[in-house]
Amino acid sequence: MNDKAKFARQFIQAIPHAKALGLDLTHIGQGEAEITMPYNADLVGDPRTGVIHGGAVSAMMDTCCGAAVMSHPAAPGGTATIDLRIDYMRAATPGQSITTRATCYHITRNVAFVRAVATDDDTDRPVATAAGSFTVEGR
């Protein structure tokens, strides 16, 4: 693992809210990140169905996009979200963990552009997708 990937991983692990969601960074590097969120009854949005709330998926996608930016070879250090759009395709299946893969596909001196896809066990049918722009900040 290179320094930048190590920095990003430590950064994610130091985030109190990432800990509260139980987020696990499973891959990081070269402008790409993958984060898994285990199923947790505290994150349910509709108690009748047990489906995870969209807000929890948003929080996870935001974290994953930020990690992807920080791991980009051209990113000097930190980042903050400028804007993020989330599209919800379907409800995540209750009991399954959700995995987000984010790619920082373009970066300038000031702005990084990111896309992300979230899936559950059925990886062919996305649960949600995200597109966002992030600031590029010095370390």
């Binding site: 009854a41 949005g45 108690p47 709330h53 948003s58 929080a59 400028i82 989330i86």
Partner: protein, 172 residues
């Protein structure tokens, strides 16, 4: 012409507060984030009660961007659901205990949601209000604004589209 005597204030308040409480407190994720709602008439204000676990950047420190996204979305969905159910709550057709248990009650589903981050979220309470731009039969469009110390200095704004629940068609 005779006018119906207005209901006693406590009856009105009790009914509305019980319905709002049922709508909000039954959702585990809203409790997890510590979001509550203030009500004035039919107007709702979401309150994100600050807690250390909402921190995203421990060095600043600042509220997690994902928490802000979730707070705006929760405020949008609750405001939309509240407005959608308000007539049924007022007429007595919908009892508070049926809001989260009844088979006939369905909630709007988020189609998409966009968040603009305007300032970093300070480690203290935040407030949000949603405006329903259009509530159609099938789709609704909602805007949300969030602030902390000064209402005119927004720290985030959002807008989203929602699929409205379709009333079950009567059998036969």
């Amino acid at each position: 012409m005779t006018r119906k005597r207005p209901e006693p204030m406590q009856v009105v308040k009790q009914r509305r507060d019980a319905a709002l409480n049922a709508l909000v407190s039954g959702v585990p994720y809203i409790r997890f984030l510590g979001i509550t709602f203030d009500r004035r008439g039919d107007e709702l204000t979401g309150v994100l009660n600050f807690d250390d676990k909402l921190i995203g950047n421990p060095f600043l420190p600042a509220i997690h961007g994902g928490v802000t996204a979730a707070f705006l979305e929760v405020t949008a969905v609750i405001t939309l659901s509240w407005s959608h159910l308000f007539e049924r709550i007022e007429s007595g057709d919908l009892a508070p205990e049926d809001i989260l248990n009844g088979e006939t009650v369905r909630f709007p589903k988020t189609i998409d949601f966009t968040i603009d981050y305007l300032r970093s979220g300070l480690p203290r309470d935040a407030y949000a209000r949603a405006t329903i731009s259009r509530a159609g039969r099938r789709y609704a469009s909602v805007r949300v604004e969030a602030w902390q110390d000064h209402h005119d200095k927004l720290y985030a704004q959002g807008s989203g589209h929602f699929l409205m629940p379709q009333d079950p068609t009567p059998a036969g």
